[in-house]
Amino acid sequence: MLDLTTSNVMERTALRVNPCKTCQPVGAMYAALGVANCMPHSHGSQGCCSYHRTVLSRHFKEPAVASSSSFTEGASVFGGRSNINTAVKNVFDMYDPDIIAVHTTCLSETIGDDLTSYIMDMDLPEGKTVVHCNTPSYVGSHINGFFNMMMGFMNYLTKKTGTPNGKAAIFPGWVNPGDIRELKRIATLMGVPYVMFPDQSGVLDAPMTGKYEYFTGGGTTLPEIASLGDTEQLIALGEITSGEPAELLQKKWKVPHTLLPMPVGIAYTDAYVMALQKFSKKEVPEELEEQRGQLVDLLLDSHPYTHGKKAAIFGDPDVVIGLTSLCLELGIVPKYVITGTPKDEFTRRVNALLEKYNVEGCTVKANADLFELHQWIKNEPVELLIGSTYGKQIAKAEDIPFIRAGFPVLDRYAGPLMPVVGYAGAIRMVEKICDALMDRQDRDAADEDLEIVM
């Protein structure tokens, strides 16, 4: 496996090998699927739309609807106005969503299609809405696409009536539906009325009923998005994913925000709980405190199997920061921590974490790829690998226990239904980490060393 990868690290400035990121539009599509009765629309050639729907369906094992402007060479020369007009008419005719959320592609960005004016000139059916955002694939990563789409919705739809609605807004960042359900559960337990935006739960984890609908009814509703301007406080999770949308809400409607890391592990979940508490001014309920106590108990019980183990963690910036924090809580040394997304803030935040736990000798890099991660591992191995499906190649090549987390996970089931966030998510991750490390110990043990009790 990956036999052409050698330990000889060479600095590269042009060739990306085995990327740890993808392009903006898929993030926009995922964000738009978290809005109720919304058709994501890809303004470009139809391959983009096909690839994005495919990767989303492969990750969630669910249908991912989205339409395309189906650019041809002619449209690429003359502009895509007529394509988007035709598309919008057909989407409303055939699929009848309430809203179409258009994102651009490198094609429509390069030719400079002006979606704002195209949309302004559209003759839309009564009660239907079209919004857009710009997602040039050659800037940032899919994470940028996700928050750009959020801001697209907010730019078009949010309002301020002047009457605060008594709710908190929660931006979950790029997480799975199982995570969103957990974030909601915690907010409800904390007595916080909220608007979750976006919200893919109920959409990309929909149940089997024998009846298929294009739109499941799940997702943040349009009135909810409109009401974001009336919320009293925003809790934005995932500093890198939710930072810019949080700034926008503050700038546009003066909604104050608390920007927190993705609540993975104890400390970051504590921060989420306390932010909710600050809003509700209520005691943390027994149910939540009990679960936190169980998690701490689990950490103490299992620490001999995790302490001092070296791990490599890769993926999207916010989930990687969260997982790094969780690993440090477990006493694991995060030897290599990388993201493909080009954000220096990532490096700063991870280094701050390492400093907090007084851990040295780790390599942290943004705008990195899996080829260089693999090369580092060849030079100095790790005992655990955590990240998306593509890590399985490295795990197989180097015989490293591997845990899947983040996006995309294309080769396992049930993941999107389950949380990584919150105390519940941490318990689940600790179980996964311990299982992986302890299964390895069992596998490698001499017969006389195989422990029945561990």
Binding site: Q24, G47, C48, S57, F71, V91, C106, P136, Y138
Partner: protein, 530 residues
């Protein structure tokens, strides 16, 4: 009103006008059935189609294991086509011990590269690739912005060849070209024909040798075909392009015969090799037990050798005896079921034959990116009208290579052979189907769902984008592009795998739980009192 009319009646006037010619409900099969194909998808209908890049990089050149295929563009296109198609490959002698298939290479273009041009970055990327991997061949696949900003990937390829003394080919396969993946197939075919085929000199060792064209080794299909062909004493010179290599493709012109599996994606090469090198081609189908037997017998007929014919019959008898019990069992579970297939290349045709082996009738079939000849047969080609979108895709003309051309059979001999064998021809999918059946070109999500409702197939074979919506509607759904990560489905052993998987999908216990028991029980239990 028949199912076709029920479907298109739901369309607005403009969409109706377009789609009515892409959908057929077969009537009297003695009359020629004509279908519109290979035209633009309508924006917004949720077509299943991909793009030109997907056809060139994803389908045709991506599987070449000794080629460092660099996607020139932003990172997404390379990322999505990384390891997701199941074109299995093992390093071998022809590939110089290399296998690039598990890797993804991209120039990951950034905004300044778009503004100031990306050629420099591409050349730097090639320099880095050569330093790291010393590939024998580099192929550059362009994505949408490349054509728009005017990077000359062919010039970069030429400079690469001069600088490093390796083979380099640039493909202008930007996503917006043509109307579907099909344009990319054609562009990739042209490049392989121009720069690769005919440049090697390793002659086949065996008397009977073939290339398998349009076989991408999804789930190991190509390996099963190779196993059977080898048993028959036939050498596979090269596979286009599953488990294929630049090293092997170079020698393809020295094979005795071309076998064409996926007609759409590779027929250009088959035709051009006939003209340039005199190699005939046979449209084969190794999907299906009967189909595999027929294909083997056709090959034997073509080579017209008593010993080969005897060997082929021996292999067929032996292979059939090995799978007979399994096939009979699955057939007993599957007979009488009906199916729908929406797929690419030639699969919607091929799998109808395999399904019939198990007693399943295909009542809906369609292609994403086929041309009229894939539906109606190659006789239609002279009558296909070109439009602006097709004209943008280069058609290259080749001439007889005086040094390498070798006539396998004279015209007269071919004609005689033609009495019992279709050489250099293909009749298309429609003759395989029955009256009442529906044929759909460039199917979309809406049509898929509607047809499932009205035609009620027991099982539907499609791709990942449709799989879960079909399943959620309560219809068994299997992926025909990836085989749901199973396979091989080709050849004798593959047929058994397919029967097993289809039976499993239809009968899996989970179906019995879809409706909760309380939905069928009265909620309140009481007594009627007086």
């Amino acid at each position: 009103m028949n199912e076709k009319n029920k479907l298109i009646d739901k369309y607005s006037a403009k969409v109706y006008k377009n789609r009515k010619d892409h959908i057929l409900q077969l009537e009297d099969l003695d009359e020629a059935q004509s279908i519109a194909a290979n035209t633009r998808a309508i924006p917004g209908v949720m077509t299943a189609r991909g793009c030109c890049y997907a056809g060139a990089k994803g389908v045709v050149v991506g599987p070449l294991k000794d080629v460092c295929v660099i996607t020139h563009g932003p990172v997404g296109c390379g990322f999505y086509s990384w390891g997701t198609r199941r074109n299995k490959a093992r390093a071998d002698e022809d590939s110089g011990g290399k296998n690039f298939v598990p890797y993804c290479f991209s120039t990951d273009m950034q905004e300044p590269d778009i503004v100031f041009g990306g050629e420099k970055k591409l050349e730097k990327a090639i320099e880095e690739a050569v330093a790291l991997f010393s590939p024998a061949c580099i192929m550059i696949c362009s994505t949408c912005p490349i054509g728009l900003i005017g990077d000359d990937v062919q010039a970069v390829a030429r400079r690469t060849e001069e600088k490093y003394g390796i083979k380099a080919i640039g493909y202008s396969c930007e996503g917006y070209k043509g109307v579907s993946q099909s344009a990319g197939h054609h562009i990739a075919n042209n490049g392989l024909m121009r720069y690769v085929i005919g440049t090697g000199d390793k002659a086949p060792a065996k008397k009977f040798s073939v290339n398998v064209l349009g076989e991408y080794n999804i789930g190991g299909d190509g390996w099963e075909q190779e196993r059977i062909l080898k048993r028959c004493g036939i050498e596979v010179v090269s596979m286009f392009t599953g488990d294929g290599s630049y090293g092997a493709l170079k020698n393809a012109h020295l094979a005795g015969l071309n076998l064409v599996m996926c007609h759409r994606s590779i027929n250009y090469i088959a035709e051009m090799m006939k003209t340039k090198y005199g190699i005939d081609w046979l449209k084969v189908n190794f999907i299906g037990v009967g189909a595999t037997c027929k294909s083997l017998r056709d090959i034997a007929k073509y080579f017209n050798d008593a010993e080969l014919t005897r060997r082929v019959e021996e292999v067929i008898t032996d292979e059939l005896s090995l799978i007979y019990d399994d096939i009979e069992y699955y057939k007993s579970r599957l007979t009488g079921k009906t199916a729908g297939i929406f797929s690419g290349g030639s699969r919607s045709h091929h799998y109808q034959v395999l399904l019939r082996d198990f007693g399943i009738e295909t009542i809906i079939a369609g292609y994403e990116f086929a041309h009229r000849d894939d539906y109606e047969g190659r006789e239609i080609i002279p009558f296909i009208k070109e439009d602006a979108d097709n004209k943008n895709i280069e058609t290259i003309t080749v001439e007889r290579d005086l040094a390498l051309y070798r006539e396998r059979y004279s015209e007269a001999e071919l004609e005689a052979l033609g009495a019992e064998l279709d050489v250099d021809s293909y009749d298309g999918m429609i003759p395989e189907m029955n009256p009442g059946n529906i044929v759909v070109d460039d199917y979309n999500h809406f049509e898929t769902d509607e047809l499932i409702r009205t035609m009620k197939p027991d099982i539907f074979f499609s791709g990942i984008k449709d799989k879960y919506s079909i399943q959620k509607a309560g219809v068994t759904s299997r992926q025909m592009h990836s085989y749901d990560y199973s396979g091989p489905y080709a050849g004798f052993r593959g047929a058994v795998n397919f029967g097993r998987d289809v039976t499993m999908a239809l009968y899996t216990n989970a179906w019995s739980f879809v409706s909760p028991p309380w939905k069928n029980e009265p909620m309140l239990v009481g007594t009627i009192g007086g």
